[in-house]
């Protein structure tokens, strides 16, 4: 939107480190988020995503390294052009819906009348027209989440930072969140969001970064990351999944019970695998494709990730 970033990066982190006492939450992290992209920030719980985002928002300061936000050396300088939706979010229960959205707008430098107008528009567009003058405590959880999102968007931020935006959303709101993110990107704004649920990132991200225990595991455009060379089969089936383990030439199996992802060893022929499966399982789908992000992640961080319960 604003072309002020000379290098085309909405966000540029270099060697950022944050320690809490003896614990290093983020360790030498570098991250480049191009302007206008949808950037997925992936990693399990406790891997340093939130800490990184808080550093971008100048809620924390890094112990080491350099952060450049919208071309500025400090996030504070451009706070009004950033939108941040934390994972743990709340509303003032006693405030009216339109007032709280307006309040968030004014905190971002909008004047009251303008913010009031915009809040009314947004709330009506998102189906909360009847709730404008109701108190926040009267909202259902899903509506509350919408209001929080609108509070983050009201000032048309150039860089939107969403921490686990999909967690706890029902399918309808999840759809809405996805559409909102896409809409923002279409308008030339940059969206950075974190998630520990890989398939959510696969659906909409231009680029991703995988973080594990404060370290960057890999990053790049989603397509490049996924075309790492391995072959994978997406299998939907009925029957006893244990038979999959008896088949040779499969490097790894991510079995979910009714469907599984099979990572083949380089010389394994998928056709042969299909022949071997017939009769042992009822096959509903047999799909040859690139490995999932989940698989890429597991491969990159090894068994640690499994122990820590990555889905």
């Amino acid at each position: 939107m604003h072309g002020s970033q000379s290098n085309g990066l909405a966000l540029d982190l270099e060697g950022v480190t944050k320690r809490f006492g003896n614990f290093t939450a983020v360790d030498g992290l570098s991250m480049q988020v191009p302007t206008g992209s949808i950037y997925g920030f992936l990693g399990p719980n406790g891997s340093g995503k939130t800490t990184t985002m808080r550093m971008v928002m100048s809620i924390f300061y890094p112990d080491d390294g350099r952060i450049s936000v919208l071309g500025q050396p400090r996030g504070e300088l451009v706070k009004d052009r950033l939108g941040y939706l934390p994972e743990e979010k709340g509303l003032y229960k006693k405030m009216k819906v339109r007032e709280i959205v307006t309040y968030f707008g004014t905190l971002k430098g909008m004047n009251r009348a303008e913010a009031w107008e915009k809040a009314t528009q947004l709330l009506e567009r998102y189906g909360l027209g009847e709730w404008l003058d109701k108190k926040c405590e009267a909202l259902s959880k899903g509506m509350g989440q919408k209001v929080q999102l609108l509070g983050t968007l009201i000032h048309d931020p150039d860089l939107l930072i969403l921490d686990e935006p999909f967690s706890g959303l029902d399918p309808i709101n999840m759809e809405l969140m996805r559409d909102t993110i896409l809409q923002m990107a279409r308008e030339g704004r940059t969206v950075l969001f974190s998630t520990h649920v890989m398939y959510q990132a696969e659906e909409i991200c231009d680029r991703i970064l995988l973080i594990h225990r404060g370290h960057k595991v890999l990053d790049g455009p989603l397509r490049e990351v996924r075309s790492s060379g391995d072959q994978a089969i997406k299998l939907d089936y009925d029957g006893d999944g244990r038979v999959l383990h008896e088949i040779s030439g499969i490097a790894r199996i991510n079995d979910a019970g009714k469907s599984a992802e099979l990572i083949l060893e380089p010389d394994k022929d998928p056709q042969e695998l299909l022949r071997e499966l017939v009769g042992k399982l009822v096959i509903r789908r047999f799909d040859l494709r690139e490995p999932s992000l989940h698989e890429i992640y597991v491969k990159a961080v090894g068994d640690d990730a499994i122990i820590e319960g990555v889905h």
């Binding site: 006492g21 300061y61 941040y84 934390p86 709340g90 905190l107 509070g151």
Partner: protein, 571 residues
């Protein structure tokens, strides 16, 4: 600054919508009204308690009864004048009320003509003795003669005598006014009435029966008046050795008060006073002394209260000055209460904000310092609104109430409320110390609130702060009694106590150097505490898990703002 304002504005607007705010606004005027009308109402609804009198003397009870139907011209005159002119009269010296001319004259500062008016008013009050005055003109003239050295300058003996000869025309008007009142209203203008709620039962029952009724709770008390309460003069009393010293006195020889209630002494005190007055009259009569001589003998030595002004001259101690010396107690108490309650509100509010997770959203738009100061100022605006409303009520109340209800005007006059309001030091210093004290304590409480996840946790951290805060309450009276003493000075120089101690001393008043130094110290402390609190707030507000140890908080304080330490559970 703009963001601080936005946070403060929201805080303020939201506070206006709370019930607590309106309760706070109305609490003071309500108390004001309750205090004034409540006491009247309470005294009306009091249970009626009965007492009985056995009078072996045969004349004391009759004397007391007679005193109870004489109108109290003093009260009556005052009420009458107010009702007529709607202007509260000045507060008369106590001696005039009791009818002691000597003292009344002694109270008068000869150089002040307005005091002369007071004396004349006082003589008007003498209407209580009107029957005697009219009956015995010589006695009065004699009395005035005797005390002529005390007469105010410019007032001759003849003038006073002339005044007695031509009683103010109002007096007759007054009598007709009293006559028009109904029984119930008239009763309050009577010279001597039993304490409210006590009623005497007329009975011929024996003492034994009455004692039983006391035991059953039917009677509150029984008075037994001895056969000869006037007694024998000590000099004429037979020596104990040659009398019947060994025998128990007859029950008719001793006056007694029989009751099972040992705490409420109002009835006993009143009855004893009235009976003493009757007996005194009887003794004066028996000795064949002139009533004037008796009054003269009875009169005590009166010390006039005087102060010293800056030029070293003696000045009168007015009611205003007295009120001003005690006013700080009320002001310090209100200050303490206001600061404490508002800081507590801020604490609760901070914990709420933290526990409902809105804090991180806010921190993405404002800095912790902006958030904290915004909250503090927002609540300060709320508090000041309440305080100013109170002051407004106080002012208008002081102006309007006497017009509606004259007795209130008299009561307020007595308390010197007008002089408290117009005092150049008290109200302004109250407001200044309120703001500074509030900033200091609210910052502390904000910091405490930020590190706690629940009110329960906060209470543990609050305990030491509460103990520290109790101290100004303990030193309240010692400082009033000695406003420039050691305790007062030491307390003034401990910054967290400065607002309370200096306000407490304002009647002193403290030397200018104390004002200057303590204010500088206080301002510096407020600044340091605000910065320290902001540091703690910045870390604490995002923290979950158990509250930090004191040492951990101290570590946060030492770290520079750009490199805030934090805990593992904050990642």
């Amino acid at each position: 600054m703009a963001k601080t304002y936005l946070v403060a504005r929201r805080e303020f607007v939201e506070n206006l919508r709370t019930k607590a705010f309106w309760i706070g606004i109305l609490a003071f005027p309500l108390m004001y009204v309750l205090l004034i009308f409540g006491s009247v109402w309470l005294s009306k609804t009091k249970d009626i308690r009965k007492y009985a009198v056995i009078d072996h003397s045969g004349f004391v009870l009759a004397g007391i009864e007679a005193r109870q139907v004489l109108p109290d011209i003093d009260k009556l005159y005052r009420a009458y004048k107010q009702a007529k002119t709607e202007k509260a009269r000045s507060w008369f010296p106590a001696a005039i009320r009791t009818g002691n001319i000597g003292q009344a004259l002694a109270e008068v500062d000869k150089k002040k003509p307005e005091d002369l008016d007071k004396v004349i008013d006082g003589f008007e009050m003498f209407g209580r003795f009107l029957p005697q005055i009219r009956a015995n003109r010589e006695q009065i003239v004699d009395m005035i003669d005797r005390f002529s050295f005390l007469l105010p300058e410019g007032m001759s003996k003849d003038q006073v005598v002339k005044w007695f000869d031509t009683l103010p025309p109002e007096f007759d008007e007054m009598k007709s006014w009293l006559a028009k009142l109904d029984e119930k209203d008239r009763k309050q203008w009577v010279a001597s009435t039993a304490p409210s709620s006590f009623v005497r039962v007329k009975t011929n029952a024996s003492e034994k029966e009455l004692r039983e009724r006391v035991d059953k709770g039917d009677l509150f008390a029984v008075f037994v008046i001895a056969k000869d309460p006037v007694g024998v003069q000590p000099s004429k009393k037979p020596k104990a050795s040659d009398g019947d010293g060994g025998t128990k006195p007859n029950s008719e020889d001793v006056s007694r008060y029989i009751s099972n209630n040992y705490t409420d002494k109002a009835l006993r005190r009143w009855f004893a006073g009235e009976a003493s007055a009757v007996i005194r009259e009887a003794r004066v009569k028996r000795l064949n002394v002139k009533a004037v001589d008796a009054a003269w003998v009875n009169a005590g030595l009166h010390f006039q209260s005087k102060g010293v002004n800056k030029e070293g001259k003696e000045v009168d101690v007015t009611d205003k000055a007295q009120a001003l010396q005690f006013a700080p107690v009320v002001f310090v108490y209100v200050l303490w209460l206001a600061v404490f309650i508002m800081s507590q509100m801020l604490l609760t509010n901070t914990i709420e904000e933290k526990s409902n997770r809105i804090i991180e959203v806010l921190l993405s738009s404002v800095s912790p310092m902006q958030l904290m100061t915004g909250k503090i100022f927002g609540l300060a605006a709320t508090g000041l609104t309440i305080v100013f409303t109170w002051v407004f009520f106080f002012f208008t109340g002081a102006k309007v109430m006497p017009l509606i209800y004259p007795a209130v005007g008299v009561a307020m006059d007595k308390m010197g409320i007008a002089s408290i309001i117009t005092d150049p030091v008290l109200l302004p210093s109250f407001l200044i110390y309120f703001v500074l004290g509030y900033l200091m304590f609210s910052a502390m409480f904000c910091a405490i609130g930020s590190v706690c996840n629940s009110l329960k946790e906060a209470q543990n951290l609050m305990t030491p702060v509460t103990i520290i805060l109790i101290v100004p309450m303990l030193t309240l009276m010692p400082i009033v009694h000695s406003p420039n003493g050691t305790i007062a000075r030491v307390m003034s120089y401990i910054p967290i106590y400065t607002p309370f101690a200096m306000l407490n001393r304002s009647a002193g008043p403290p030397p200018l150097i104390d004002y200057v130094l303590t204010t500088i110290l206080l301002l510096v402390t407020v600044f340091v505490i605000m910065v320290g609190a902001a540091k703690v707030f910045r870390v604490g507000i995002l923290m979950t898990g158990k509250p930090p140890k004191i040492m951990e908080i101290l570590r946060w304080l030492r770290a520079p703002v750009t490199n805030m330490p934090a805990r593992k559970d904050m990642q």
